[in-house]
C-alpha cells in the first residue's frame, strides 16, 4: 500500500495517517449572500478526481496537518507531503 513522506517523521505507512478531505477553494465569507446551490456546491459537491490530486491528511502520530499529493488510481509508491502552515 502507499506511504506518505511526513516532513517531521519521514516515510511512514498510510495507516498512520487520517484522510482529511480534498483541498478546495476557500469557503466563502461568513456574510456572503449564498443561495442553496452555492451552499450545496461548497458543502457537498466534490471533484473526486481519478489520478493525481491534492489532499489534506493528518499524521495521527505527530499530529501535524499536511498537504499530500496522491494518485487515487494507483496506490504504489510514496506520496509527498508538506506542512499546511510553515513550522
Amino acid at each position: 500500500m502507499f506511504r506518505i513522506n511526513c516532513p517531521w517523521c519521514g516515510i511512514r505507512d498510510h495507516d498512520e495517517f487520517t484522510f482529511g478531505g480534498e483541498l478546495r477553494a476557500h469557503a466563502p465569507a461568513w456574510d456572503a449572500p449564498l443561495t442553496g446551490e452555492d451552499l450545496a456546491a461548497q458543502l457537498f459537491m466534490r471533484d473526486n478526481l481519478k489520478g493525481v490530486r491534492h489532499e489534506r491528511w493528518l499524521h495521527t502520530s505527530c499530529r501535524e496537518w499536511l498537504r499530500v499529493v496522491r494518485d487515487t488510481a494507483d496506490h504504489s509508491g510514496v506520496c509527498e507531503a508538506t506542512h499546511v502552515r510553515a513550522p
Partner: protein
C-alpha cells in the same frame, strides 16, 4: 424469446452432455443511434433496460458496459438484501425492492437463489438494546418486519456466537429482519440481461463510454471506444465511477469514491443459517450455498479508484469476525477483493434527472446498491418512460442538496461511513 428454463429442459440437456444450451443473451454490436442509452451494465443499468422493455415497451435501448456483465460491483458485493431503513422515503423504496426480489426468480425464469434467512444485528450493550426497541417501533411504523431476540433466544438460534462471560463485545440480544436474506448476485444481473435481450435490448460489452455529449443543455449521445452513439435519453448507472462520467457532461456530484472490501473463507459444512452483523466490531458474515463464509467490513477510510483495499482494514474486519465467532479462527481466507463505492454525506442514493436535459442519474449507492437493484431499475425505467421522476424516488433527486432535504440513513447503512 429464448426458450424458457425448466426441469424438463435440464433433463433433456443432460442427455446430450449439456452441449447445446443457447446463449443467455446475444453478443450485440452497437448501432449508431438509440432512443435510450444506458451507461453501465451493472445491476441498476441492466435492470433499467429490462423494465423499460417489459413494463413500458421501450426496446430501442442499448446497455453499454466497459467490461462484462457481472464483472463489476454486481460480482463483488456480499449479496445481502434487506429493507430495515429508518426514514419513510427509504423504507418505502427498499421494501419495494425486497418485494420485487421475492418474486424475481419466477419473473425472470432464472433462479436467483433467494434465501430468506434473516438479518441478525447483534446488540452489544444494554444501550444498544434500548436503541433497538426504538428502531423496532420505527420499522413497524414504516411497515417493515422486525423482531428483537433475547440473549437466550439468540443463543438457541446462533449457537456459534461468542456468549462467553468475558467476551470483549458481550452479546445482549439481537434485532432481526426475518424477510431479509441473501441472493446469488451474478444470477440477478444475468437474469435481467437475458430478459432484456429477449425483448430486443442490445447489451454491448467491452464498450467503454468515454464521455457524455451534451450541447446547449441537452444530451445528444455518448462517445465510446467504438465510436459515437446518438441517443435522446442517457441513463448513467456507473456506481464507482459516477463523478468521472458525470464530469464529462459538466456535472459535479456530492460523491466520494472509496474502496469497500469483502472476502471469503474456504468452504465448510453448513454452520450459519442467517446473516450476522456486529455493529460494534464492524464485521458481518453469512454462509454461501457453497459453504464459504462471506465476510464484509467497513470502508477503507480514504478515497481511491484502485479497486483494492489495504491490509489494515482486512485485518480489522477479520479480527472483528473472530471476536463474535471465535471458532472461525482456524479457517483460511480463500479470496479477498475490493469494489469502488460512491459515498454521499447522507448515505442515500441519487436518483433523478440531471441538470442536463435528457440525462438521468442513478448513482451514490454507497455500500448497499445490490439490495436496491430491482427498485432502482424499476423506478429509473418508469421515470424515463414518463419523463418525470417517479414519486417514490422524488426525494432522492440531486436537488435535495441545495434544498437541504438530506435523507440521513447513516444508522441504517450499517457499514461505518
Amino acid at each position: 424469446m429464448a426458450a424458457s428454463y425448466s426441469s424438463w429442459g435440464l433433463v433433456r440437456q443432460a442427455t446430450v452432455g449439456h452441449g447445446s444450451w443457447p446463449r443467455a443473451w446475444r453478443a450485440a454490436a452497437a448501432k449508431p443511434s438509440y432512443r435510450v442509452v444506458i451507461v453501465g451494465g451493472g445491476g441498476h443499468g441492466i435492470a433499467t433496460a429490462y423494465y423499460l422493455a417489459k413494463e413500458h415497451g421501450i426496446t430501442d435501448v442499448a446497455v453499454l458496459e466497459k467490461g462484462w456483465i457481472g464483472g463489476g460491483n454486481t460480482g463483488r458485493n456480499t449479496t445481502v438484501v434487506r429493507s430495515n431503513y429508518l426514514r419513510p422515503e427509504s423504507a418505502a423504496f427498499y421494501d419495494f425492492s425486497l418485494r420485487l426480489y421475492e418474486r424475481l426468480t419466477a419473473e425472470l425464469n432464472f433462479n436467483i437463489m433467494f434465501s430468506r434467512r434473516g438479518l441478525t444485528t447483534l446488540l452489544h450493550s444494554p444501550h444498544a438494546v434500548n436503541a433497538a426497541w426504538g428502531q423496532l417501533n420505527t420499522l413497524h411504523l414504516n411497515g417493515i418486519d422486525a423482531e428483537i431476540l433475547s440473549r437466550e433466544e439468540l443463543q438457541r438460534r446462533v449457537p456459534l456466537l461468542n456468549f462467553a462471560p468475558d467476551a470483549r463485545f458481550p452479546i445482549h440480544g439481537a434485532i432481526v429482519q426475518p424477510r431479509a436474506g441473501v441472493v446469488r448476485h451474478d444470477a440477478v444481473v444475468w437474469g435481467y440481461a437475458r430478459g432484456a435481450d429477449a425483448r430486443g435490448v442490445d447489451i454491448v460489452q467491452n464498450c467503454e463510454v468515454t464521455g457524455i455529449e451534451a450541447r446547449d443543455g441537452r444530451v445528444n449521445g455518448v462517445h465510446t471506444r467504438q465510436g459515437f452513439i446518438a441517443a435522446s435519453q442517457v441513463v448513467m448507472a456507473v456506481a464507482g465511477s459516477s463523478s468521472l462520467v458525470a464530469a464529462t457532461a459538466g456535472i459535479r456530484l456530492p460523491i466520494m469514491t472509496y474502496p469497500l472490501q469483502a472476502m471469503v473463507t474456504e468452504p465448510i459444512k453448513p454452520c450459519l443459517d442467517t446473516v450476522v452483523l456486529s455493529p460494534a466490531t464492524g464485521s458481518y458474515v453469512s454462509q454461501s450455498d457453497r459453504g464459504e463464509l462471506v465476510i464484509g467490513g467497513g470502508l477503507d477510510r480514504y478515497p481511491s479508484y484502485a479497486q483494492r483495499g489495504s491490509i489494515a482494514v482486512t485485518a480489522s474486519t477479520v479480527a472483528g469476525l473472530l471476536e463474535i465467532f471465535p471458532s472461525f479462527s482456524r479457517l483460511k481466507l480463500m479470496r479477498q477483493w475490493a469494489g469502488m463505492v460512491d459515498i454521499i454525506a447522507d448515505s442515500s442514493p441519487i436518483l433523478g434527472f440531471a441538470p442536463v436535459r435528457g440525462m438521468f442519474i442513478n448513482a451514490g449507492w454507497g455500500t448497499g446498491g445490490f439490495k436496491a437493484i430491482p427498485a432502482g431499475g424499476w423506478t429509473t425505467a418508469w421515470s424515463i418512460a414518463h419523463q418525470r421522476e417517479h414519486p417514490m424516488i422524488a426525494p432522492f433527486s440531486l436537488g435535495r442538496f441545495a434544498r437541504g432535504a438530506l435523507i440521513d440513513e447513516a444508522a441504517a447503512a450499517v457499514i461505518a461511513h
